[in-house]
């Protein structure tokens, strides 16, 4: 029944894609069109197309906590891409993380989620990538992770410990929409890749599904059904609107979620978005307890009475945050932080970015927002995250602004420090694995092997205990 539903949706989208995706027009094969839609749902382009580069030609530098991973060319080029892959080799790459040459992929490729893809959908994706995508013969730079992560064979051990190959089994007790939603969320749209926190060895931590995780500079927050920790307070239409346009009354999509809206969710059918929302609404509460939710914090206000008329020499760190805010942010977000009337410039109170204490506020100031969906572009410039930004604020000044904004309009909480900003600027916290690897490089290969062996054993033991959420102490990332 599930397969029939999927095929039905696919067929409906042949017509839609004929308008939306010109390259699919040449291929009349409905399977190719279905594959194109699934590639959108899987957001393959997010990683496999570099900015300004050719579609699916790879080369995007993905900053992972253990080093930079370059995405591969997945065009049908026979020299640089996947043109020589058989259908089964293609399936093994997607569902098992194994390349044509037998080497393991790093789990930056979400094969742990794509394992969910049905045989039919693998056929469709294969048809699309081999016949619907123009080949590009340029090879992206090779990925060179630091030792010992450069030994791809180590991923075999990782897979043994963490990878549970799960094919999709419909739950007959649940609705067709819920089942379709689960198929997409756990599979193609691979939400847990970002929204589930990662453990010491970059594995998705069991018992904490969708409880929120760090993704480089950005934080993918808790999207469980909990009303305080998660998005349980959102109605289904609010969630669907957010996925389609990146805008909710009290949240905006930026960073990697902005990309997911721009490249993937906005193209999904209303039925699929409804299915995703249906499933997400049932995700059990998980994660660290929170005293208050991130959507209803703060109120309008300003320190203008304190700062107007002050010369720069008369400001101290207490007032400088307010001065920097008015000079850099006030023209768009308004002097009281109330934003614009049409919502293009969001209010800074009742705003999930300021209402939480994760890295997103600093990341937004550093890197800005650039998201294009059906209703047009939403844009905020970065303030120094790129050396080309026209405003180059120091870590100190960004820390002052972030502290002012969070105190005046948001969650309050601890002062944002220069070090916090420096961490976001370098692309997020790095894993202790790298440090260990560097120490290991100094100690030599024997010592490294021993260390890894010990580490693996420790994690395996921890895993065998099947810990539940919150009951386990892990080294903080």
């Amino acid at each position: 029944m599930m397969a029939r539903l999927i095929r039905l949706i696919g067929a409906v989208f042949v017509a839609w894609l004929a308008v939306a995706a010109p390259q699919a027009m040449a291929a009349i094969d409905p399977l190719v069109a279905e594959g194109a839609y699934l590639a959108k749902a899987g957001d393959c382009t997010a990683c496999h197309t570099a900015p300004g580069g050719k579609a699916f030609a790879g080369g995007l530098a993905i900053a992972s906590p253990v080093g930079t991973i370059y995405s591969s060319n997945i065009t049908p080029s026979k020299t640089a891409g996947i043109g020589l892959y058989t259908r089964d080799q293609f399936a093994a790459a997607l569902r098992q993380g194994v390349r044509r040459d037998g080497a393991n992929l790093y789990p930056a490729m979400p094969y742990t989620a794509y394992a969910m893809f049905s045989d039919h959908d693998i056929d469709a994706l294969y048809a699309y990538f081999l016949n619907g995508v123009p080949p590009v013969d340029a090879a992206p730079p090779p990925t060179r992770l630091p030792f010992p992560m450069n030994i791809r064979l180590s991923m075999t051990a990782w897979n043994l410990i963490f990878f549970r190959h799960r094919s999709f089994q419909a739950d007959p007790a649940k609705s067709a929409a819920w089942n379709r939603g689960r198929y997409l969320v756990e599979g193609a749209t691979h939400c847990s890749t970002c929204h589930t926190p990662r453990g010491f060895l970059m594995e998705e931590r069991p018992g904490l599904a969708f409880a929120g995780g760090q993704v480089g500079a950005w934080y993918a927050p808790n999207i469980t059904s909990d009303k305080t920790r998660g998005i349980g307070s959102w109605s289904k239409p609010v969630l669907i609107g957010y996925l389609q346009g990146g805008v909710a009354p009290d949240a905006r999509a930026a960073g990697t979620m902005g990309e997911a809206v721009e490249h993937s969710f906005q193209y999904l059918t209303p039925a699929d978005l409804d299915a995703i929302a249906t499933y997400i609404e049932t995700v059990p509460a998980a994660g660290k307890a929170e005293a208050s939710d991130r959507f209803s914090q703060g109120q309008p206000g300003s320190k203008l009475a304190l700062i107007r008329g002050l010369s720069p020499a008369e400001t101290d760190d207490a007032t400088r945050g307010a001065v920097l805010f008015q000079g850099n942010c006030g023209a768009c977000h308004a002097p009281l932080g109330q934003g614009g009337r049409d919502g293009y410039f969001p209010a800074l109170f009742h705003n999930s970015t300021t209402g939480a204490t994760n890295s997103n506020l600093v990341a937004t100031i550093l890197y800005g927002v650039n998201r294009t969906a059906a209703k047009g572009q939403a844009f905020m410039p970065g303030f120094g995250g790129s050396p080309r930004d026209s405003s180059q604020l120091s870590n100190h000044d960004i820390a002052l602004i972030a502290t002012y904004v969070r105190t005046q309009y948001g969650a309050g909480g601890p002062t944002v420090t220069e070090k916090d900003v420096a961490t976001v600027r370098q692309g997020g916290p790095s894993s202790p694995l790298v440090l260990i690897a560097r120490i290991a490089l100094c100690l030599g290969a024997v010592a490294a092997a021993l260390l890894i062996f010990l580490l693996l054993r420790r994690v395996r033991r921890a895993n065998d205990r099947h810990p539940s959420a919150g009951s386990r102490s892990e080294p903080a990332l």
Partner: protein
């Protein structure tokens, strides 16, 4: 004296011209050192400075840019400071009080962003109308550079050729036009009833979309003195990018001498730091991009035995032909609100009135609705009436809504008598202040009397004005042109078609000063187009060297 720095290309000045050249040379793989006389500040500092001004001084639109002791410029915040730096004389001395800033990023910090092109006719005044000069090349030669500048700055403009000026273009604008505010629409409708077309201006301002990492315009209406969000192009926004590409920017470095060596190659420039310590900078090519006042001043100051009249001045044309668009202003009182101030401070002009066979007899002119919000002017006027309480509020509202300003900008001919020389007066570093003789001439005066003033009154009446006052004293438009005029003949011009000094093969003097004629429109786009043309020539020159 210390040998401080060296680079392939030494660029003096960090305004739009210097920055465009620096970036293009960096992209071609050459080392670039930029020298800026003034300080470097962040946008937010200017924004906050402006907001902290006493309300009365906010009508002085350069008050947010106080001059430094070592890099002075005209400071209009008081009548006393306004005459301190520029030494002006002649019948229209008042009309050459040019506003510019000596800050990193230059005067685009506080430009309106308007990007008119010259027309083919503007470049052939001598052969078509028997006045002024002809350019050394035609519009078709300049057109590709105009197009490149529009891409580089991010210029929005109409896609309909009927609304383009001139409609001779090889590529569309990178962004669509901005809509008119209600006041500009009223003006457009009034003009239409008189058979005149008020055109949406091409402007270096992001319309509806981000461009080059800068956000779309959201109508703060403070383009002058500063765009608080960087939606309007200003050269300051390109400084971090220049540094990211490997360019070096030295600020508070006041260049006071261009040193020519054997074979009249320029071999160094010398600058003072704020403590008047001297430094020497060497390079292969030198660019003086300080626009039409500071560049000729520097050339004249650099006189030596081989160049007794100043560097690049064998023609005696350095500092001559000083141009601008002499401005008159009509103040309107209206029965109905015009709602001035929605959108950017300028957004349109009537351009057809700048063209015609009448140019044999008198200057053409452009007419525009000044869209700068009138609330602060209204408040000052209402306070001066001694009103208080509700009556004061009501009068501020009426004056803000029901008054308007129309501006006339006239075309000025290049006249060698309009001349910049070195004053006997010195600035804090002992550098001579510029002295400028300025007469708008009979060509402009005749236009004002018989052509532009009658027409602006007609436009005002058509807009429903109950009262119109047109100024009679010309004022400055801040479009400084002519001081190192371009021409094919080294005997009567300073630079060649690539803004290269006729006298010095490795010295480039691009910008407004090189413009042969002025036209009626704002000069920046042409200055920037000449900069890109010069940059092409520099890249070729270094490649062949």
């Amino acid at each position: 004296m210390s040998q401080a720095e060296s680079a392939d290309i030494v660029v003096v000045g960090t305004g739009v011209v210097g920055c465009l050249i620096a970036e293009q040379l960096l992209d071609a793989g050459h080392s670039v050192l930029m020298l800026e006389a003034g300080p470097r500040v962040e946008r937010w500092q200017i924004v906050e400075k402006y907001r902290n001004l006493a309300p009365i001084t906010t009508t002085n639109l350069d008050a947010a840019y106080p001059p430094t002791r070592w890099a002075p410029f005209l400071d209009s915040t008081s009548p006393l400071t306004a005459v301190d730096y520029l030494q002006l004389e002649g019948p229209n001395a008042r009309a050459y009080r040019q506003d510019y800033v000596r800050y990193a990023g230059g005067s685009t910090w506080h430009w309106a962003g308007i990007c008119w092109r010259l027309t083919p006719e503007d470049m052939r005044l001598k052969s078509l109308y028997g006045v002024g000069r002809d350019w050394a090349f035609d519009y078709a030669t300049l057109e590709p550079y105009y197009t490149r500048v529009e891409q580089a700055l991010g210029v929005c403009g109409p896609s309909d050729p009927e609304l383009q000026w001139p409609p001779i273009r090889s590529k569309p604008y990178p962004m669509g036009r901005l809509p008119f505010g209600p006041g500009e629409q009223k003006f457009t409708d009034a003009a239409a009833r008189l058979g005149l077309k008020n055109l949406p201006a091409a402007q270096a301002r992001n319309s509806g979309v981000a461009y080059d990492g800068r956000p779309p315009c959201c109508g703060n209406n403070s383009c002058i003195p500063v765009c608080p969000i960087g939606a309007k192009y200003d050269a300051a926004s390109s400084l971090p990018r220049i540094e990211a590409k490997g360019g070096k920017i030295l600020v508070n470095a006041v260049v006071y001498r261009v040193e020519a060596g054997a074979a009249n190659q320029v071999q160094a420039v010398h600058y003072f730091d704020p403590d008047k310590q001297s430094h020497r900078v060497t390079g292969k090519l030198f660019v003086i991009a300080c626009n039409g006042i500071e560049t000729p001043k520097l050339l004249l100051m650099s006189a030596d035995t081989r160049n007794p009249r100043g560097v690049a001045n064998s023609s005696d044309q350095v500092g001559r032909n000083m141009m601008d668009q002499p401005k008159l202003v009509a103040e309107l009182t209206l029965a109905e609100p015009a709602w001035t101030g929605v959108g950017p401070v300028q957004g349109s002009s009537i351009m057809q009135t700048s063209q015609g066979d009448f140019r044999r007899e008198h200057a053409g002119a452009l007419f525009r609705f000044n869209n700068m919000a009138r609330s602060r002017l209204g408040a000052i006027q209402a306070l001066n009436k001694g009103l208080v309480g509700k009556a004061l509020d009501a009068e501020i509202r009426r004056l803000s809504a029901c008054t308007a300003e129309l501006t006339i900008e006239h075309e000025l001919l290049p006249d060698p008598n309009n001349r910049l020389t070195l004053s006997d007066k010195k600035d804090a570093l002992g550098i001579p202040k510029p002295n400028i003789y300025y007469d708008v001439g009979a060509y402009v005066r005749k236009s004002a009397e018989s052509y532009s003033t009658p027409l602006v009154k007609q436009l005002a009446r058509e807009m429903g004005a109950t009262d119109v006052k047109v100024t009679t004293e010309f004022t400055n438009s801040d479009h400084i042109m002519g001081g190192m005029i371009m021409g094919a003949n080294p005997a009567d011009s300073v630079v060649d078609v690539d803004c290269r000094a006729h006298d010095h093969p490795n010295l480039f003097l691009p910008g407004g000063g090189a413009m042969t004629t002025a036209g009626c429109g704002n000069s920046t786009l042409t200055m920037a187009a000449l900069a890109l043309k010069a940059a092409d020539a520099m890249v070729a020159q270094l490649t062949h060297a």
